[in-house]
Protein backbone atom coordinates (compact mmCIF):
# COMPACT_ATOMS: atom_id res chain seq x y z
CA UNK A 1 0.00 0.00 0.00
CA UNK A 2 1.42 3.42 -0.94
CA UNK A 3 1.92 6.03 1.73
CA UNK A 4 -0.76 8.65 2.29
CA UNK A 5 -0.16 12.19 3.46
CA UNK A 6 -2.79 14.37 5.10
CA UNK A 7 -2.90 18.13 5.60
CA UNK A 8 -5.36 20.44 7.25
CA UNK A 9 -7.37 22.43 4.72
CA UNK A 10 -6.33 26.05 5.42
CA UNK A 11 -9.81 27.26 4.41
CA UNK A 12 -11.54 25.77 7.45
CA UNK A 13 -11.91 27.44 10.83
CA UNK A 14 -10.93 25.35 13.82
CA UNK A 15 -10.67 25.57 17.58
CA UNK A 16 -10.43 23.14 20.45
CA UNK A 17 -13.21 23.49 23.02
CA UNK A 18 -12.48 21.48 26.14
CA UNK A 19 -10.60 18.87 24.11
CA UNK A 20 -13.23 18.66 21.36
CA UNK A 21 -12.20 20.12 17.99
CA UNK A 22 -14.76 22.44 16.37
CA UNK A 23 -14.39 22.75 12.62
CA UNK A 24 -16.29 25.05 10.29
CA UNK A 25 -16.16 24.13 6.63
CA UNK A 26 -14.79 26.83 4.36
CA UNK A 27 -17.01 25.53 1.56
CA UNK A 28 -20.44 26.02 3.09
CA UNK A 29 -19.91 27.05 6.74
CA UNK A 30 -21.15 23.70 8.00
CA UNK A 31 -20.07 23.14 11.59
CA UNK A 32 -18.55 19.84 12.69
CA UNK A 33 -17.01 18.51 15.84
CA UNK A 34 -14.31 15.87 15.69
CA UNK A 35 -14.11 12.95 18.08
CA UNK A 36 -10.88 12.18 19.91
CA UNK A 37 -9.35 10.07 17.13
CA UNK A 38 -10.29 12.55 14.43
CA UNK A 39 -8.92 15.39 16.56
CA UNK A 40 -5.57 13.60 16.87
CA UNK A 41 -5.53 13.04 13.12
CA UNK A 42 -6.43 16.70 12.45
CA UNK A 43 -3.75 18.02 14.79
CA UNK A 44 -1.08 15.75 13.31
CA UNK A 45 -2.04 16.43 9.68
CA UNK A 46 0.94 18.61 8.73
CA UNK A 47 1.24 17.38 5.15
CA UNK A 48 4.75 16.06 5.81
CA UNK A 49 4.12 13.18 8.19
CA UNK A 50 2.68 10.10 6.50
CA UNK A 51 -0.57 8.61 7.75
CA UNK A 52 1.10 5.36 8.87
CA UNK A 53 3.56 7.37 10.98
CA UNK A 54 0.69 9.37 12.50
CA UNK A 55 -1.12 6.15 13.33
CA UNK A 56 2.00 4.58 14.81
CA UNK A 57 3.15 7.61 16.80
CA UNK A 58 -0.12 9.27 17.80
CA UNK A 59 -2.98 6.77 17.63
CA UNK A 60 -1.50 3.39 18.60
CA UNK A 61 0.24 5.05 21.52
CA UNK A 62 -3.08 6.45 22.73
CA UNK A 63 -5.47 3.57 22.02
CA UNK A 64 -5.22 -0.20 22.50
CA UNK A 65 -5.62 -1.08 18.82
CA UNK A 66 -3.89 -3.24 16.19
CA UNK A 67 -1.71 -1.06 13.93
CA UNK A 68 -3.11 -2.49 10.67
CA UNK A 69 -6.69 -2.03 11.83
CA UNK A 70 -5.91 1.48 13.11
CA UNK A 71 -4.31 2.44 9.80
CA UNK A 72 -7.33 1.23 7.84
CA UNK A 73 -9.70 3.16 10.14
CA UNK A 74 -7.50 6.26 9.91
CA UNK A 75 -7.43 6.08 6.13
CA UNK A 76 -11.22 5.79 5.99
CA UNK A 77 -11.53 8.71 8.37
CA UNK A 78 -9.03 10.83 6.41
CA UNK A 79 -10.91 10.20 3.16
CA UNK A 80 -14.22 11.07 4.80
CA UNK A 81 -12.76 14.32 6.16
CA UNK A 82 -11.29 15.01 2.72
CA UNK A 83 -14.73 14.53 1.13
CA UNK A 84 -15.94 17.32 3.42
CA UNK A 85 -12.93 19.48 2.50
CA UNK A 86 -11.66 19.43 6.07
CA UNK A 87 -8.44 17.56 5.23
CA UNK A 88 -6.45 17.18 2.06
CA UNK A 89 -5.20 13.68 1.20
CA UNK A 90 -2.37 12.90 -1.22
CA UNK A 91 0.07 10.15 -2.04
CA UNK A 92 2.81 12.81 -2.04
CA UNK A 93 3.81 15.12 0.83
CA UNK A 94 1.57 18.19 0.75
CA UNK A 95 3.37 21.57 0.61
CA UNK A 96 3.08 23.65 3.75
CA UNK A 97 0.35 26.24 3.23
CA UNK A 98 -0.54 26.83 6.85
CA UNK A 99 2.41 28.37 8.65
CA UNK A 100 0.99 28.22 12.17
CA UNK A 101 0.66 24.45 12.36
CA UNK A 102 -2.02 22.79 14.44
CA UNK A 103 -4.96 24.76 15.74
CA UNK A 104 -5.01 25.94 19.31
Amino acid sequence: MSKLYVARNPRVAARSLDGEMMIMSGRDSTLFTLNKTATILWQAADGATSLDEIVKLRICSEFDVEPAEALQDAENLARELASREILEVSEEPIPHRNPAGASR
Binding site: R11, V12, A13, M22, L31, N98, P99, A100, S103, R104
Partner: protein, 374 residues
Protein backbone atom coordinates in the same frame (compact mmCIF):
# COMPACT_ATOMS: atom_id res chain seq x y z
CA UNK B 1 -28.96 28.43 15.54
CA UNK B 2 -28.17 24.81 14.66
CA UNK B 3 -28.42 22.11 17.31
CA UNK B 4 -24.65 21.62 17.29
CA UNK B 5 -24.05 25.35 17.71
CA UNK B 6 -26.45 25.43 20.67
CA UNK B 7 -24.57 22.49 22.16
CA UNK B 8 -21.19 24.17 21.67
CA UNK B 9 -22.48 27.43 23.17
CA UNK B 10 -23.72 25.51 26.20
CA UNK B 11 -20.34 23.85 26.55
CA UNK B 12 -18.53 27.18 26.19
CA UNK B 13 -20.83 28.66 28.84
CA UNK B 14 -20.20 25.79 31.23
CA UNK B 15 -16.43 26.10 30.75
CA UNK B 16 -16.41 29.92 30.83
CA UNK B 17 -14.95 30.04 27.32
CA UNK B 18 -15.45 33.19 25.21
CA UNK B 19 -16.92 31.54 22.11
CA UNK B 20 -17.20 34.71 20.04
CA UNK B 21 -15.69 38.20 20.08
CA UNK B 22 -16.31 41.33 18.06
CA UNK B 23 -13.35 43.64 17.58
CA UNK B 24 -13.89 47.06 16.09
CA UNK B 25 -10.61 47.60 14.24
CA UNK B 26 -11.28 51.32 13.84
CA UNK B 27 -13.98 53.87 14.57
CA UNK B 28 -12.92 55.87 11.50
CA UNK B 29 -15.48 55.69 8.73
CA UNK B 30 -16.01 56.84 5.18
CA UNK B 31 -19.73 57.25 5.76
CA UNK B 32 -21.49 59.48 8.27
CA UNK B 33 -24.68 57.57 9.01
CA UNK B 34 -27.15 59.81 10.77
CA UNK B 35 -27.89 57.23 13.47
CA UNK B 36 -24.31 56.04 14.13
CA UNK B 37 -23.34 55.76 17.81
CA UNK B 38 -19.58 56.19 17.30
CA UNK B 39 -17.07 59.03 17.56
CA UNK B 40 -15.20 58.65 14.25
CA UNK B 41 -12.02 60.45 15.32
CA UNK B 42 -8.98 58.25 15.92
CA UNK B 43 -8.00 58.49 19.58
CA UNK B 44 -5.12 56.01 19.29
CA UNK B 45 -6.12 52.74 17.64
CA UNK B 46 -4.26 49.55 18.45
CA UNK B 47 -1.32 48.95 16.12
CA UNK B 48 -1.04 45.93 13.84
CA UNK B 49 1.27 44.19 16.31
CA UNK B 50 -1.04 44.94 19.23
CA UNK B 51 -4.03 43.51 17.38
CA UNK B 52 -2.10 40.39 16.38
CA UNK B 53 -1.02 39.83 19.96
CA UNK B 54 -4.59 40.26 21.21
CA UNK B 55 -5.90 37.90 18.54
CA UNK B 56 -3.37 35.26 19.57
CA UNK B 57 -4.43 35.68 23.20
CA UNK B 58 -8.04 35.25 22.16
CA UNK B 59 -7.29 32.10 20.18
CA UNK B 60 -5.50 30.72 23.26
CA UNK B 61 -8.56 31.61 25.34
CA UNK B 62 -10.72 29.51 22.99
CA UNK B 63 -12.42 32.19 20.88
CA UNK B 64 -13.79 30.55 17.73
CA UNK B 65 -15.93 33.19 16.01
CA UNK B 66 -14.18 36.52 15.38
CA UNK B 67 -16.18 39.45 13.98
CA UNK B 68 -14.21 42.36 12.57
CA UNK B 69 -16.26 45.52 12.51
CA UNK B 70 -15.92 49.27 12.88
CA UNK B 71 -16.07 52.11 11.76
CA UNK B 72 -15.11 50.94 8.31
CA UNK B 73 -12.66 48.05 8.53
CA UNK B 74 -11.27 48.56 5.03
CA UNK B 75 -9.96 51.98 6.05
CA UNK B 76 -7.20 50.19 7.97
CA UNK B 77 -4.26 49.79 5.62
CA UNK B 78 -3.29 46.63 7.50
CA UNK B 79 -6.76 45.08 7.26
CA UNK B 80 -5.77 42.19 5.01
CA UNK B 81 -2.64 41.54 7.08
CA UNK B 82 -4.82 41.25 10.20
CA UNK B 83 -7.37 39.10 8.37
CA UNK B 84 -4.72 36.74 7.01
CA UNK B 85 -3.20 36.39 10.44
CA UNK B 86 -6.61 35.65 11.97
CA UNK B 87 -7.39 33.03 9.34
CA UNK B 88 -4.11 31.40 8.36
CA UNK B 89 -2.32 31.50 11.67
CA UNK B 90 -5.14 31.40 14.21
CA UNK B 91 -7.91 29.61 12.28
CA UNK B 92 -10.75 31.83 13.49
CA UNK B 93 -14.17 31.63 11.89
CA UNK B 94 -14.18 35.25 10.68
CA UNK B 95 -17.23 37.41 10.03
CA UNK B 96 -16.99 40.93 8.63
CA UNK B 97 -19.24 43.97 9.05
CA UNK B 98 -18.67 46.72 6.51
CA UNK B 99 -20.36 49.28 4.30
CA UNK B 100 -18.39 47.58 1.49
CA UNK B 101 -17.88 50.72 -0.56
CA UNK B 102 -14.13 50.01 -0.77
CA UNK B 103 -14.65 46.44 -2.00
CA UNK B 104 -14.02 45.92 -5.72
CA UNK B 105 -13.36 42.71 -7.69
CA UNK B 106 -9.81 42.42 -6.36
CA UNK B 107 -10.80 42.71 -2.68
CA UNK B 108 -13.70 40.29 -3.16
CA UNK B 109 -11.37 37.72 -4.71
CA UNK B 110 -8.89 38.14 -1.87
CA UNK B 111 -11.63 37.65 0.74
CA UNK B 112 -12.64 34.48 -1.06
CA UNK B 113 -9.06 33.24 -1.07
CA UNK B 114 -8.54 33.95 2.64
CA UNK B 115 -11.94 32.55 3.56
CA UNK B 116 -14.49 34.44 5.62
CA UNK B 117 -17.74 33.04 6.94
CA UNK B 118 -19.88 36.03 5.99
CA UNK B 119 -19.80 39.70 5.06
CA UNK B 120 -22.55 41.87 6.51
CA UNK B 121 -23.25 45.06 4.57
CA UNK B 122 -25.37 47.94 5.88
CA UNK B 123 -28.11 48.71 3.36
CA UNK B 124 -30.78 51.20 4.43
CA UNK B 125 -32.92 51.40 1.32
CA UNK B 126 -33.14 50.23 -2.27
CA UNK B 127 -33.47 53.90 -3.25
CA UNK B 128 -30.22 55.92 -3.55
CA UNK B 129 -31.93 59.11 -2.41
CA UNK B 130 -32.91 57.43 0.88
CA UNK B 131 -29.80 55.29 1.51
CA UNK B 132 -27.37 58.07 0.60
CA UNK B 133 -29.31 60.55 2.74
CA UNK B 134 -28.68 58.26 5.72
CA UNK B 135 -24.99 57.57 4.99
CA UNK B 136 -24.49 61.20 3.91
CA UNK B 137 -22.29 59.90 1.07
CA UNK B 138 -23.50 60.40 -2.46
CA UNK B 139 -23.28 57.23 -4.55
CA UNK B 140 -22.83 54.98 -1.51
CA UNK B 141 -25.77 52.67 -2.29
CA UNK B 142 -24.51 52.09 -5.81
CA UNK B 143 -21.04 51.19 -4.53
CA UNK B 144 -22.34 48.96 -1.71
CA UNK B 145 -24.59 47.04 -4.11
CA UNK B 146 -21.77 46.68 -6.63
CA UNK B 147 -19.56 45.28 -3.86
CA UNK B 148 -22.28 42.86 -2.79
CA UNK B 149 -22.38 41.57 -6.38
CA UNK B 150 -18.59 41.17 -6.50
CA UNK B 151 -18.69 39.22 -3.25
CA UNK B 152 -21.57 37.03 -4.42
CA UNK B 153 -19.77 36.31 -7.68
CA UNK B 154 -16.94 34.88 -5.53
CA UNK B 155 -19.43 32.56 -3.84
CA UNK B 156 -19.21 34.39 -0.52
CA UNK B 157 -22.07 34.62 1.96
CA UNK B 158 -23.40 38.19 2.05
CA UNK B 159 -25.96 39.59 4.47
CA UNK B 160 -27.72 42.92 4.16
CA UNK B 161 -28.28 44.60 7.54
CA UNK B 162 -31.23 46.96 7.34
CA UNK B 163 -31.68 49.25 10.37
CA UNK B 164 -35.17 50.69 10.37
CA UNK B 165 -35.64 54.37 11.05
CA UNK B 166 -38.17 57.05 10.22
CA UNK B 167 -36.26 57.79 7.00
CA UNK B 168 -36.44 54.28 5.53
CA UNK B 169 -39.37 52.66 7.31
CA UNK B 170 -41.33 52.27 4.07
CA UNK B 171 -38.48 50.58 2.18
CA UNK B 172 -37.66 47.38 4.03
CA UNK B 173 -39.84 45.18 1.81
CA UNK B 174 -37.99 46.40 -1.27
CA UNK B 175 -34.61 45.92 0.43
CA UNK B 176 -35.62 42.33 1.14
CA UNK B 177 -36.75 41.91 -2.46
CA UNK B 178 -33.44 43.29 -3.71
CA UNK B 179 -31.55 40.92 -1.41
CA UNK B 180 -33.59 37.97 -2.64
CA UNK B 181 -32.96 38.95 -6.26
CA UNK B 182 -29.20 38.97 -5.55
CA UNK B 183 -29.26 35.74 -3.53
CA UNK B 184 -28.36 37.63 -0.37
CA UNK B 185 -29.68 37.19 3.16
CA UNK B 186 -31.30 40.17 4.85
CA UNK B 187 -31.79 41.13 8.49
CA UNK B 188 -34.14 43.86 9.65
CA UNK B 189 -33.52 45.61 12.97
CA UNK B 190 -35.67 48.42 14.39
CA UNK B 191 -33.11 49.17 17.14
CA UNK B 192 -31.34 52.53 17.09
CA UNK B 193 -28.53 52.52 19.65
CA UNK B 194 -27.67 55.51 21.86
CA UNK B 195 -24.25 57.11 21.30
CA UNK B 196 -21.46 55.43 23.23
CA UNK B 197 -21.02 58.62 25.26
CA UNK B 198 -24.61 58.25 26.46
CA UNK B 199 -26.21 60.83 24.13
CA UNK B 200 -29.71 59.51 23.44
CA UNK B 201 -30.78 62.12 20.87
CA UNK B 202 -30.36 59.65 17.98
CA UNK B 203 -33.20 57.55 19.42
CA UNK B 204 -35.59 60.11 17.92
CA UNK B 205 -34.71 58.53 14.55
CA UNK B 206 -36.38 55.26 15.59
CA UNK B 207 -39.62 54.11 13.98
CA UNK B 208 -41.69 54.64 17.15
CA UNK B 209 -44.57 52.60 18.44
CA UNK B 210 -46.63 52.85 15.26
CA UNK B 211 -43.72 51.66 13.14
CA UNK B 212 -42.94 48.78 15.48
CA UNK B 213 -46.61 47.81 15.53
CA UNK B 214 -46.59 47.61 11.73
CA UNK B 215 -43.30 45.70 11.48
CA UNK B 216 -44.34 43.17 14.11
CA UNK B 217 -47.48 42.40 12.14
CA UNK B 218 -45.73 41.69 8.86
CA UNK B 219 -45.95 37.94 8.52
CA UNK B 220 -43.08 37.95 6.04
CA UNK B 221 -40.86 39.11 8.88
CA UNK B 222 -42.29 37.44 11.97
CA UNK B 223 -44.00 34.35 10.61
CA UNK B 224 -47.15 33.57 12.54
CA UNK B 225 -48.37 37.03 13.61
CA UNK B 226 -50.89 35.72 16.16
CA UNK B 227 -48.19 33.66 17.82
CA UNK B 228 -45.58 36.43 17.65
CA UNK B 229 -47.92 39.06 19.07
CA UNK B 230 -49.63 36.85 21.62
CA UNK B 231 -49.95 38.09 25.19
CA UNK B 232 -47.15 36.35 27.07
CA UNK B 233 -47.73 33.48 29.45
CA UNK B 234 -46.61 34.17 33.00
CA UNK B 235 -42.92 33.35 33.43
CA UNK B 236 -42.25 30.11 35.26
CA UNK B 237 -39.72 29.80 38.06
CA UNK B 238 -37.06 28.25 35.78
CA UNK B 239 -37.13 31.11 33.29
CA UNK B 240 -36.28 33.57 36.08
CA UNK B 241 -32.91 31.83 36.37
CA UNK B 242 -32.21 32.26 32.65
CA UNK B 243 -29.34 34.40 31.40
CA UNK B 244 -30.31 37.78 29.94
CA UNK B 245 -28.11 37.22 26.83
CA UNK B 246 -24.68 35.98 25.79
CA UNK B 247 -22.89 39.29 26.59
CA UNK B 248 -20.09 38.53 29.03
CA UNK B 249 -21.09 34.87 29.17
CA UNK B 250 -19.84 33.48 25.86
CA UNK B 251 -19.09 36.69 23.98
CA UNK B 252 -17.59 40.13 24.39
CA UNK B 253 -16.45 43.18 22.47
CA UNK B 254 -13.11 44.99 22.11
CA UNK B 255 -12.83 48.61 20.97
CA UNK B 256 -10.07 49.92 18.65
CA UNK B 257 -8.40 51.27 21.80
CA UNK B 258 -8.29 47.91 23.53
CA UNK B 259 -11.20 48.42 25.92
CA UNK B 260 -13.10 45.22 26.62
CA UNK B 261 -16.86 45.44 27.08
CA UNK B 262 -19.43 42.65 27.49
CA UNK B 263 -20.92 43.66 24.10
CA UNK B 264 -20.68 46.43 21.53
CA UNK B 265 -24.04 47.63 22.84
CA UNK B 266 -22.97 47.31 26.49
CA UNK B 267 -20.15 49.85 27.06
CA UNK B 268 -19.27 48.77 30.60
CA UNK B 269 -15.46 48.95 30.83
CA UNK B 270 -14.13 45.65 32.17
CA UNK B 271 -10.43 46.04 31.31
CA UNK B 272 -8.01 46.96 28.54
CA UNK B 273 -5.98 44.47 26.52
CA UNK B 274 -3.13 46.98 26.23
CA UNK B 275 -2.63 46.67 29.99
CA UNK B 276 -3.85 43.15 30.79
CA UNK B 277 -4.01 39.77 29.11
CA UNK B 278 -7.37 39.12 27.48
CA UNK B 279 -7.93 35.93 29.47
CA UNK B 280 -7.32 37.74 32.76
CA UNK B 281 -9.99 40.31 31.91
CA UNK B 282 -12.39 37.61 30.72
CA UNK B 283 -11.96 35.42 33.78
CA UNK B 284 -11.16 37.84 36.59
CA UNK B 285 -12.65 41.26 35.88
CA UNK B 286 -15.05 42.17 38.71
CA UNK B 287 -17.30 43.93 36.21
CA UNK B 288 -17.41 40.91 33.93
CA UNK B 289 -18.23 38.72 36.93
CA UNK B 290 -20.98 41.15 37.96
CA UNK B 291 -22.57 40.95 34.50
CA UNK B 292 -22.21 37.18 34.55
CA UNK B 293 -23.98 36.87 37.89
CA UNK B 294 -27.19 38.57 36.77
CA UNK B 295 -30.24 36.37 36.21
CA UNK B 296 -33.73 37.50 35.21
CA UNK B 297 -34.82 37.10 38.84
CA UNK B 298 -32.33 39.85 39.80
CA UNK B 299 -33.80 42.55 37.58
CA UNK B 300 -35.30 45.47 39.43
CA UNK B 301 -38.52 46.25 37.57
CA UNK B 302 -38.60 43.50 34.95
CA UNK B 303 -38.96 40.58 37.38
CA UNK B 304 -42.53 41.64 38.07
CA UNK B 305 -43.30 42.39 34.40
CA UNK B 306 -45.62 40.13 32.44
CA UNK B 307 -43.14 40.24 29.55
CA UNK B 308 -40.14 39.00 31.55
CA UNK B 309 -40.10 35.54 29.95
CA UNK B 310 -40.47 36.74 26.36
CA UNK B 311 -38.93 40.24 26.29
CA UNK B 312 -35.95 41.04 24.06
CA UNK B 313 -34.53 43.17 26.92
CA UNK B 314 -30.95 44.18 26.12
CA UNK B 315 -28.85 44.53 29.28
CA UNK B 316 -26.53 46.90 27.42
CA UNK B 317 -29.34 49.27 26.53
CA UNK B 318 -30.52 49.03 30.14
CA UNK B 319 -26.98 49.91 31.28
CA UNK B 320 -26.92 52.92 28.96
CA UNK B 321 -30.23 53.94 30.47
CA UNK B 322 -28.61 53.94 33.90
CA UNK B 323 -28.92 50.47 35.42
CA UNK B 324 -27.75 47.15 33.98
CA UNK B 325 -30.34 45.39 36.17
CA UNK B 326 -33.07 47.80 35.13
CA UNK B 327 -35.41 47.83 32.18
CA UNK B 328 -34.48 48.84 28.65
CA UNK B 329 -37.22 51.23 27.59
CA UNK B 330 -36.63 50.50 23.92
CA UNK B 331 -37.38 46.83 24.55
CA UNK B 332 -40.40 47.75 26.69
CA UNK B 333 -41.70 49.64 23.64
CA UNK B 334 -41.12 46.58 21.48
CA UNK B 335 -42.97 44.30 23.90
CA UNK B 336 -45.85 46.79 24.01
CA UNK B 337 -45.96 47.20 20.22
CA UNK B 338 -45.96 43.43 19.87
CA UNK B 339 -48.66 42.55 22.40
CA UNK B 340 -50.50 45.75 23.31
CA UNK B 341 -49.69 45.05 26.96
CA UNK B 342 -47.67 47.83 28.64
CA UNK B 343 -44.56 46.73 30.51
CA UNK B 344 -44.11 47.11 34.27
CA UNK B 345 -41.57 49.84 33.48
CA UNK B 346 -44.06 51.75 31.32
CA UNK B 347 -46.74 51.51 34.00
CA UNK B 348 -44.30 52.67 36.70
CA UNK B 349 -43.23 55.64 34.57
CA UNK B 350 -46.87 56.55 34.00
CA UNK B 351 -47.54 56.45 37.75
CA UNK B 352 -44.45 58.55 38.45
CA UNK B 353 -45.43 61.05 35.79
CA UNK B 354 -48.89 61.27 37.30
CA UNK B 355 -47.37 62.00 40.69
CA UNK B 356 -45.42 64.91 39.22
CA UNK B 357 -48.54 66.65 37.93
CA UNK B 358 -50.43 68.32 40.73
CA UNK B 359 -53.63 70.05 39.77
CA UNK B 360 -55.16 72.19 42.41
CA UNK B 361 -58.21 74.31 42.12
CA UNK B 362 -57.27 77.96 42.27
CA UNK B 363 -59.20 79.99 44.83
CA UNK B 364 -61.86 81.69 42.76
CA UNK B 365 -62.27 85.43 42.80
CA UNK B 366 -65.51 86.49 44.22
CA UNK B 367 -68.31 85.88 41.78
CA UNK B 368 -66.27 83.83 39.32
CA UNK B 369 -66.98 80.10 38.83
CA UNK B 370 -64.38 77.78 40.44
CA UNK B 371 -61.59 76.69 38.04
CA UNK B 372 -62.05 79.50 35.55
CA UNK B 373 -58.72 80.88 34.29
CA UNK B 374 -59.61 84.31 33.17
Amino acid sequence: MSGLLVELHAKALAKNVPFSVQIDLTYRCNERCVHCYLDHNDHGEMTTDEIKRVLAEMADAGVFVMTFSGGEIFLRKDFFEILEYARYELHFCVKLKTNAIMIREQEAARLREIGVESIQISIYSHRPEVHDAITLVSGSLKRSIAAAKFLKSQGLRVIFANVLMVHNMRDYRDVRALAEELGIECTIDPTVTPMMDGDRSVLALGVGNQGLHEVFRDQNLVGNVDEFCAIPDPADEDSLFALPCSAGHTSCYVSPYGDVYPCVQFPLPTGNVRKQRFIDIWRDSDKMKEVRAIRLKDLTTCTSCSHVGSCSRCPGLAYMEGNMRGPSSQDCEKSFARTGVPSANMLAKKRNAANLVQIRTMPSPAGAPAGALA
